[in-house]
């Protein structure tokens, strides 16, 4: 209680001093994120070797080349846990999700119930950590220094969250969900990793998924069920989802109030010595693209056709076009997009055939634009925030053209 009051006072004091000069960004520099980190020599369960930031909890990043394709295979899909104790054995026949709180019929649903009692829905959706590419931010933003690969796109299958709530029967006044997974802190007193979701914001696309790319979810991606919230950053896509509690009031949760938040101003930005006092959840993803091939440092023969491949996505408005530059951003040409049949929440694959005619280093860039006309800034134009969230700078790879 005293703590909370202390934070409030600090925030108000900071507020009067902040925001006078958000444009004076000399001290801040945004670059391309760290790239080409090697994968570990150890594979985690059900995974190929990935870029490994931590083993406890497991923090695994997908290498860039995987994004030459619009579906990320399960064994290459990134992994991020918050708590060090993750169940390593779950009996799918005994596992249950509890739906309780402000409902008429509290439910305990087995995986089998989810499959049999509810319509199965399939949706292809990008899951991206809000801190993906955080290593682009200087001064260094606190948090895992992800490169480009804290994201992936899979075809998820499960039951609609709405249908599950309807079966439980929401009581009048029900407005919030508290989502809890099976991961645990080391000490009992430590706040559990829980997230909140406002019931008004639930759409038909949000599902409790028991399948990922046609298979059971890997343990490290949330076996046996996780929440899928298309278009929204991954922080509330609860893994090993085991309890949904309905309340009238917004729950107070450490990980909602202190994590995954950005400045609540138009630029969503601040300066390291003038932090903006008011913050908001990161929520909807911005427009972004990534080159899967070529990778940084690739060597390509002069007068030989190469095909630049990658993926583009946004928060669900849909990608309208991707432009490619092969001269460091001076000129741009439109890439060819896939048919878009995977839907507006999926990776949209792009390809651009290109034959270099001059030797030396070239800088290849990709820039996506969505159906609302929103596009990506150059990396150096991205604004800083203390959490290093929502980087969507134009991606760049440098390749060498040789004889």
């Amino acid at each position: 209680m005293q703590r909370r009051e202390f934070f409030k006072t600090t925030a108000i004091l900071a507020g009067s001093a902040a925001l006078t000069n958000v444009d004076a960004a000399e001290q801040v520099e945004i670059t391309q994120p760290i790239d080409n980190r090697p994968v570990a020599d150890i594979a985690f369960p059900q995974k190929q070797p990935l870029i490994t930031h931590s083993d406890r909890p497991p923090l695994l990043e997908t290498p860039r080349k995987v994004f030459a394709h619009p579906i990320t295979p399960n064994d290459l899909f990134f992994v991020r846990w918050h708590m060090p104790l993750i169940p390593t054995y779950i009996n799918p026949h005994a596992f249950e999700i509890t739906i309780d709180g402000l409902v008429n019929n509290p439910l305990r649903l087995s995986i089998d119930d989810l499959k049999k009692r509810f319509e199965a829905v399939e949706i292809t959706a990008v899951m991206q950590c809000g801190g993906n590419s955080r290593s682009a931010f200087h001064p260094t933003a606190g948090g895992i220094q992800w490169g480009v690969g804290a994201m992936g796109c899979a075809k998820w299958k499960g039951a609609r969250l709405k249908d599950i709530l309807a079966a439980a029967g929401l009581k009048p006044g029900a407005a919030w969900l508290t989502l809890d997974g099976a991961e645990k802190p080391v000490y009992n007193q430590t706040d559990d990793f829980k997230r909140a979701l406002e019931i008004d914001r639930i759409t038909d696309d949000m599902i409790v998924a028991y399948e990922m790319n046609g298979e059971a979810l890997p343990y490290l991606n949330g076996f046996p069920v996780r929440l899928i919230l298309p278009g929204i950053y991954a922080d509330s896509w609860m893994k090993m989802l085991r309890r949904i509690t309905v309340t009238a009031k917004e729950p107070h949760l450490h990980f909602m109030e202190h994590a995954y938040r950005i400045p609540d101003n138009d630029c969503e930005c601040e300066l390291p010595d003038k932090l903006y006092p008011k913050t908001k959840p990161i929520e909807k993803m911005n427009v972004k693209s990534l080159i899967g091939f070529p990778e940084n440092g690739a060597r390509i023969r002069k007068d030989t056709e190469m095909i630049v491949r990658g993926v583009a996505f946004d928060g669900g408005d849909g990608i309208a076009r991707v432009d490619i530059s092969t001269d460091g951003g001076a000129t741009w040409q439109e890439a060819t997009l896939d048919d878009g049949k995977a839907g507006r929440y999926a990776f949209r694959a792009f390809r651009y055939a290109f034959t270099p005619t001059q030797m030396g280093e070239i800088r290849i860039m990709a820039r996506a634009t969505n159906t609302k006309g929103e596009t990506q800034p150059f990396a150096h134009e991205v604004k800083w925030n203390r959490g290093g969230y929502k980087f969507n700078g134009i991606d760049e790879v440098r390749v060498e053209v040789i004889t």
């Binding site: 985690f44 931590s54 406890r56 923090l59 390593t88 009996n91 799918p92 000490y187 202190h258």
Partner: protein
């Protein structure tokens, strides 16, 4: 008829085996993340590793002394790590010496 029964029995065996395989669970590997050698290394390792990998610590990037102090305090105040107050500066000094950005604030 007899063949059918045998086939069914065989299928049942296969099915139960595959179900059994799904129930085995996983075993998470341990990975060693090297630490910079220096005063306070073992003490810091002990404090951090009670809950998480050293990789989790160094992935915060090079940071100021104030940042590291705030992080260590957060581990105690928010996550209830049993780190003694008098040990905080040992960890902060080590972290800043080897994973610092040279700035106090």
């Amino acid at each position: 008829m007899k063949r059918k029964i045998v086939t069914t029995a065989a299928l049942l065996v296969i099915a139960s085996q595959s179900t059994f395989a799904e129930h085995k669970g996983i075993k998470l590997p341990h990975m060693e993340f090297p630490m910079a050698k220096g005063e306070g290394m073992y003490a810091t390792k002990g404090m951090c590793n009670m809950c998480h990998s050293w990789g989790y610590t160094i992935n915060q990037g090079k940071q100021s002394k104030a940042f590291w102090r705030k992080k260590v305090r957060k581990m105690i105040d928010v996550f209830h790590a049993p780190i003694k107050d008098e040990d905080v500066e040992v960890a902060v000094t080590y972290l800043f010496a080897h994973y610092g950005n040279g700035k106090e604030e």
